[in-house]
């Protein structure tokens, strides 16, 4: 049984996986000399994180669709833009591979401004911010809002007062915003292209 709580936990974990992959890849670009291929273990961590994240989202949508829900009901509230982000990241990834084949691997500051890397960052930002958008619309991390509405006829926020749910919803929002901030600091490294600061 794939509950909404499970979806949320897995989505959070895969967000962490993807952001870790991005930083590991960044580490490789800074520490491994003459990185001249797209097929590296660091890219494997990055792209497998993306794949896991998208599969988590698509599996939830597919299960909801199987239960006869409309597309609008099947996509968790706030995750419409996450789907767009998944598409942007997908085309960014393919574009990145073609870009590397055509123009070679970026070195140093180039990696932060390459158009395909900017596409990947935009896609990742939209994916990470999905959790925050979900919470901002008054939803709980562990309950599916629509199910609660069906049961109570009240707004979700007024219904879900369980301490654990409130804490986890807060945590989801904090981590979602933190991952977005980490992507922003990652992509603005050109402004601290110095040894330590």
């Amino acid at each position: 049984m794939y509950t909404f709580g499970m979806f949320s936990y897995v989505y959070l974990f895969t967000s962490f996986w993807l952001v870790t992959g991005a930083y590991i890849d960044g580490w490789a670009h800074n520490h491994v000399p003459e990185l001249e291929t797209f097929f590296t273990p660091w890219h494997a961590v990055l792209y497998s994180g993306y794949l896991a994240m998208v599969l988590t989202l698509l599996l939830w949508i597919w299960l909801r669709k199987r239960k006869g829900h409309s597309w609008r009901e099947a996509v968790p509230e706030g995750h419409g833009l996450s789907l767009l982000g998944a598409g942007v990241f997908f085309f960014g990834g393919i574009g990145d591979m073609l870009w590397h084949i055509a123009f070679g691997i970026e070195a140093g500051i180039e990696a932060l401004l390459s158009p395909t890397h900017l596409l990947l960052a935009t896609g990742a930002f939209l994916l990470f911010s999905g959790g925050a958008r979900h919470v901002l619309r008054g939803n709980c991390f562990l309950c599916h809002g629509e199910e609660l509405l069906e049961r109570s006829g009240k707004s979700h926020e007024s219904m879900c007062k369980k301490q654990l749910h409130l804490r986890m919803t807060q945590m989801m929002y904090i981590l979602s915003v933190t991952f977005c901030m980490m992507i922003l600091t990652y992509m603005t490294q050109f402004a601290r292209y110095t040894q330590i600061l």
Partner: protein
């Protein structure tokens, strides 16, 4: 103690010609301006992200420490600057303590947005003086926390309005 390129310690080992002096001066300028810009950008991202959490009442105790440490540690892992992680933790804890006690009014929140980056970069300057051959002049070292504080304050004007 780490000796950075273009620092007085590094230059002392090098035979200087007129052109190399000019070259070092240009590198000094670019390295410093890039570092200050980076500090301003990080302050804006930090205050904007935390401001969003605070405004939505989604910042329980420990949030400032968690977010600031995550940002600094991840950059340190990828590049350099592991010695700055304790500075981030210290500034984060002080930021959390202040946040717990100040009233959530517009002016207090704006003041907090100035103080957080100011504190972090004050700790950064102190850390670099202790752990590295930090060659910046006193004017630059004293001004860095202030300019980042202003960046935080300006960002807060967009977040805490009316």
């Amino acid at each position: 103690m780490k000796a950075y390129a273009h620092s007085p310690a590094a230059l002392a080992t090098e035979e200087l010609t007129e052109s190399s002096v000019q070259e070092h001066a240009a590198l000094h300028y670019h390295e410093q301006s890039s570092a200050v810009l980076g500090a301003i950008v990080l302050s804006i991202i930090l205050v904007a992200g935390l401001g969003m959490l605070i405004r939505r009442k989604m910042a329980p105790r420990g949030t400032v420490t968690l977010v600031l440490t995550a940002l600094v540690a991840s950059i340190a892992f990828m590049r350099e600057g592991k010695e700055l992680v304790p500075a981030a933790i210290a500034a984060g804890i002080l930021g959390d303590i202040m946040l717990a006690y100040i009233p959530r009014t517009q002016w207090w929140m704006r003041a907090w947005c100035f103080v957080l980056p100011f504190l972090y970069y004050t700790f950064v300057v102190i850390t670099l003086n202790i752990t590295a051959d930090f060659w910046w002049s006193i004017h630059m070292q004293a001004g860095l926390p202030v300019i980042t504080g202003f960046a935080g304050l300006l960002t807060s004007l967009l977040l805490f309005r009316g």
